[in-house]
């Protein structure tokens, strides 16, 4: 049955069809001119670029629809460059398409596989080489060489050891200590509870010892957000409630998910949103996660006031701030 079915046959490469430029000298001349015009345009583009570089100051702006009020210097350089390059390309392609031979050529493929004899000979050569070296007969050499080569892989790993210090408990510590004042970021001004109205927020950092510089490494763990609510709006256990002060609650601003600064506070819903991955935290319930990928609430900072009436940390953070890591215990 199967041999009776006749498949549709390959009609073979179709006959070559001549282009206009192949038969009509006028069309060929036209194509030649078009290519030349493209190359000339390219030269013009280069001139635009040179002119813009030398003569157009970088404070000149012109209104261009779609783009807006655009810098002419930058635009001249870029468009000049674009024209000069694009037109060379267009010219070359147009030349190849219209004037270079367009008859398709057939080339034969060769088989990649080596001849059987070659393969056999290869195997023989390898075997002969191996036996000449005597690897199989001298296991002691083979084993020691293997061990030695294996060991050479260690130094590169070892040598990378000094890339950085060991983490120690660095990820679990912040600069906050009992009595550290909260100061505004930026501005470094201490804050009194009465400075914040209900509904107000403040971005804060721990006060620096005099003469000390603030490092990004510290900010990356120390940033704290203050929020003032009506005390009755809290839905906290007694301990957490005692960490607040007159309706002011403080959270680590470093997201417990991946460390972005969570400071997007919605005053009406009392929700904090992280703009990176949209984890949403409920401020009234100690930053409990109510949406998104974060798995832990933001650490809450125990705050109180010092004898001068400024807001201070009542205790250090009770847990590591920022994203999780293996050694984190909760």
């Amino acid at each position: 049955m199967t041999n009776e079915i006749e498949l549709i046959k390959d009609p073979g490469l179709p006959a070559h069809v001549h282009r206009r430029a192949d038969t009509d000298p006028k069309a060929a001349a036209l194509a030649e001119r078009q290519v030349a015009i493209l190359f000339a345009l390219s030269a013009l583009g280069t001139l635009i670029l040179i002119y813009s570089y030398i003569f157009i100051k970088d404070d000149v702006f012109v209104f261009i629809p779609v783009l807006g009020n655009t810098n002419v210097h930058q635009l001249g350089l870029g468009l000049g460059m674009a024209i000069s390059l694009f037109c060379i390309g267009a010219g070359l392609i147009h030349w190849a398409k219209t004037l270079m031979p367009d008859e398709e050529v057939i080339a034969q493929r060769h088989e990649f596989r080596s001849e059987d004899e070659d393969r056999e000979e290869f195997v023989k050569t390898v075997k002969a080489g191996a036996s000449a070296a005597g690897l199989g007969r001298r296991p002691l050499i083979k084993r020691t060489l293997g061990a030695a080569l294996g060991l050479t892989a260690l130094p590169p790993i070892l040598l990378l050891r000094d890339l950085g210090p060991l983490p120690g408990n660095d990820l679990s510590k912040t600069s906050w200590k009992k009595g550290t004042r909260l100061v505004t970021d930026p501005g470094d001004r201490p804050i009194r509870p009465e400075d914040l109205e209900v509904g107000a927020v403040a971005q804060t950092l721990p006060e620096l010892a005099p003469g000390k510089e603030r490092h990004l490494d510290d900010i990356a763990k120390d940033a704290v957000l203050l929020i003032r609510l009506r005390p009755e709006e809290f839905n906290l256990n007694a301990e957490r409630l005692s960490w607040t002060h007159e309706g002011i609650i403080a959270f680590s601003k470093i997201c417990s998910h991946m460390g972005c600064a969570v400071a997007l506070y919605e005053q009406q819903t009392k929700h904090l949103l992280c703009p990176c991955h949209q984890s949403t935290f409920d401020v009234t319930r100690a930053a409990k996660v109510i949406f998104g990928p974060a798995a832990r609430p933001l650490p809450q900072l125990n705050i109180t006031v010092d004898e001068e009436g400024y807001l201070v940390a009542g205790a250090p953070f009770s847990e590591p701030v920022g994203p999780s890591f293996w050694e984190r215990s909760s």
Partner: protein
Amino acid sequence: MKRLSRLRRHHAAGPILLIFALFTIGTTFQVASAVNSESPSVADRSVAIEEGKQIFLKGCSSCHGLNAEGAEIAPSLIGVGAASVDFQVGTGRMPMADMSQQAMRKKPVYTPEEVYALAMYVASLAPGPEIPTEEALNYERDGSVAEGGELFRTNCAMCHNFAGQGGALTQGKYAPTIMGVEPKHIYEAMITGPQSMPVFSDKTITPEEKLSIIKWAKAAEAEPQLGGAALGRVGPVTEGLLVWTLGIGLLVGVAVWLAMKAK
């Protein structure tokens, strides 16, 4: 348009300045001591309050209650202050067109004079944040653009985006763009915390710092396209969109032309 709005601001500036000064003095000090020179303006103010009350009863009381005490669908306005009213009504957010949505900026329903009257009426109910004076809003003089940028990025960019273009909040709410917003309204938003926005107290962000933020916002608004079309200034999303459409589109277009047999 811009000129028009500036002119309008200018018109309102005089009376606002004067009456505002009086209002503060009037509530904090003895009014009697200044009766002689300021009585006509005090009278002006009471006229404004009365006019405001009428507008309020007609346009606002159905939601906010006859005495602005609030109701289930709208908050109490007692103590929100003149600044809050000026912001909400002056930017067209109030009265709300659609209760299901977040109040949007739109063409104000009331004239500046009516907005002023409303603000005076609400301010008369209980003290609250006041409308900043033209003098207090001289951000060109008192602000620093670089400092403003830093303050903006710390306090505002997480909602309003790095270039003040606005961004998404939870459950369909959004932080609006601050481009094209009047300096006065930006200032009022910071001190009153409208809708989802928190309040930024004068102690944590000083009035000068607020002016710096405004100066930065105005500089960002006026910044021309330094590197070509801004693509909305929303970051890599639109850049990716452009490269997947115009970028690869142009290249594939040329490739198709290249591989097409010439006639």
